[in-house]
């Protein structure tokens, strides 16, 4: 006999597995610290590349000025300090932002997976009741 309740549950679960669930299952395979570390590392790499691009554009825009600064050690040191500060702020800030977003993503994925596994258990018990 077909059970309408069971079919609805299975359909919902299948839809979840094919959509949002696939991503959440991937996240759920990691430990919390591992997932966040990997994501923060990726973000740091991206931020470094983005910073280099921005710095490259800055150099191209202010090429003559920078050339002059190269021959003056004091100005060069000031420039290096500024660049380093911007670098740390940007990469650090982006890393912290990624940490916050990934923590939230992990928590919501785990919550969603918990619900999914609960439904899986419920489905199993429905089959056992037959």
């Amino acid at each position: 006999m077909l059970s309408e309740e069971r079919i609805i549950l299975m359909t919902r679960m299948a839809s979840y597995e094919q959509g949002e669930g696939r991503k959440n299952v991937k996240i759920g395979n990691y430990f919390r610290s591992d997932y966040i570390t990997v994501q923060v590392l990726k973000a740091v790499v991206c931020a470094i590349v983005a910073f280099l691009i921005m710095f490259g554009l800055y150099v191209l825009c202010n090429y003559e000025e920078l050339m002059k600064k190269l021959y003056n050690i004091d100005e060069l040191l000031v420039l290096a300090k500024d660049v380093l500060t911007y670098f740390c702020v940007m990469v650090g800030g982006y890393g912290v932002l990624t940490y916050i977003i990934c923590t939230w993503k992990y928590v919501s994925a785990k919550k969603s997976l918990k619900c999914y596994y609960h439904n899986l258990k419920k489905l199993g018990s429905m089959y056992n009741e037959r």
């Binding site: 991206c46 931020a47 590349v49 983005a50 691009i53 921005m54 191209l60 825009c61």
Partner: protein, 430 residues
């Protein structure tokens, strides 16, 4: 309202039946419009400014994921920039890479938003975007909206600077880059619009998630007002020469579009809201349930009366028989139609009725060995009707009411017709 709801159900049905075709066609049209707009606004590379190339690219996008539209759009724009000047293409590439590396990776599924935002900005109706995104997407989509606006202003800047760039020689490569980067960073209008759209998306999202009545309507109106206020304040501070009239008209259009979105996505009946409160071992629950507005679809069953089969049936019953009761296929169809009418509009009630009739049909079949001509001919509904009729068919020389199967009605249980046909196997009958 009922007509609109019926239309919505019909559209849903059409979409669910033919989404295999509708989705690629929609993607094709979107890609075609985007590439065509790019070509008409930039069009520096003659090779790309060709309808054949646009059609091929749009066709490729129709069966690729949505991200392909964004990717090909970026490639198109970069090639046009390259045709204008290598330095412009370099700046464009850097901007795209920065966007991808820093922003787009947080909401990679918002390709549609990134693709549509510059298009709507170009069509001078950008105020629809933040309201629609706030209603339909997550708050992180504000980043995608911002990226889309930045792309629009980059392309606009390239178009506006093209005459100047052409006059500059190759030895002024650094000057070209400086001009573009400084113009882009100093574009206050872009910054104000990005800020206004981001704030609007967040406002709409937060309000529409609230459990107040008419949350979506409140969200879209509040979002529109916030958008207008932020834009006007930005205009006052930075003097960005905003056309107030177009902002107001665009905002009105945004509300209209948002109402349409609400109708399709969140059509609920607040007058039938139920509030319940209960508890279990761990929690107290305060539940507010708002029913959705829905009208069941009415489908028409087309009956085909096979006159040849009817004549055969007549021949079977013998000379004295007045019974040409719908036999076989025809009979079962007639029966189903009539039953559906009596079952009412609701699909659920239709099913229930069928179940009952099936149960009673068996009895009739057993008891109807002799065949009650009058009953079978007149009732002609449900399984009972079919079997009674069939048993009567085998009883020669009986007279009764002729059932030609002309009854018309609306059926909601087409699937059941098949069951009846399967059950109605002529071999079963004596």
């Amino acid at each position: 309202m009922t007509v609109l709801l019926e239309m919505k159900e019909r559209l849903k049905l059409i979409y669910s039946k033919s989404d295999v075709f509708i989705v690629p066609i929609a993607k094709f049209l979107l890609a075609f419009i985007i590439f065509n707009t790019l070509n008409s606004r930039m069009g520096y590379m003659a090779l790309l400014d060709d309808m054949g190339i646009v059609l091929i690219a749009a066709l490729a996008c129709s069966f690729l994921p949505l991200g392909a539209i964004v990717l090909l759009g970026a490639v198109f724009s970069l090639m046009h920039m390259y045709a204008l000047s290598l330095e412009v293409a370099l700046v464009g590439l850097c901007v795209y890479l920065i966007m991808y590396l820093l922003f787009f990776r947080f909401s990679p599924k918002d390709s549609l938003v990134v693709a549509v935002t510059p298009l709507l900005c170009a069509l001078k109706i950008p105020y629809v975007i933040p309201i629609a995104v706030g209603l339909l997407c997550a708050p992180s989509s504000a980043v995608s909206v911002g990226c889309g606006v930045a792309v629009y202003y980059l392309l606009q800047l390239v178009s506006e600077s093209a005459p100047n760039i052409r006059t500059m020689g190759e030895e002024e490569a650094l000057a070209k880059i400086r001009m573009l980067v400084e113009s882009l960073l100093a574009n206050k209008a872009m910054l104000v619009i990005i800020a206004a759209f981001a704030i609007t998306v967040l406002t709409v999202y937060l309000i529409r998630r609230m459990s107040v009545n008419y949350a979506w309507t409140i969200a879209m109106i509040a979002g529109t007002m916030v958008n207008i206020v932020v834009l006007l304040v930005g205009d006052l501070y930075y003097d960005i020469n905003l056309a107030v009239g177009s902002v107001l008209l665009g905002s009105l259009l945004a509300i209209v579009v948002a109402k349409v979105i609400e109708f399709f996505r969140f059509c609920v009946d607040y007058s039938r809201t139920e509030k319940v409160q209960f508890e279990d071992d761990e929690y107290y629950y305060y539940v507010k349930a708002v029913p959705k507005m829905a009208v069941p679809m009415q489908t028409r069953t087309v009956k085909r009366i096979n006159s040849q089969r009817t004549r055969e049936a007549e021949a079977d019953t013998g000379e004295g028989s007045a019974y040409a009761v719908g036999s076989g296929r025809q009979g079962s169809r007639t029966v189903t139609t009539e039953r559906s009418v009596s079952a009412g509009n609701s699909r659920q009630s239709g099913r229930t009725v069928i179940t009952e009739r099936v149960a009673s049909g068996g009895n009739v079949r057993q008891s109807g060995g002799n065949g009650s001509a009058q009953r079978g001919g007149q009732s002609g509904n449900g399984r009972q009707g079919v079997r009674t009729s069939a048993s009567e068919r085998t009883a020669p020389g009986r007279s009764g009411v002729r059932n030609t199967g002309r009854t018309q009605g609306r059926s909601v249980t087409i699937g059941r017709t098949v069951d009846l046909q399967e059950d109605f196997d002529e071999d079963e009958w004596p």
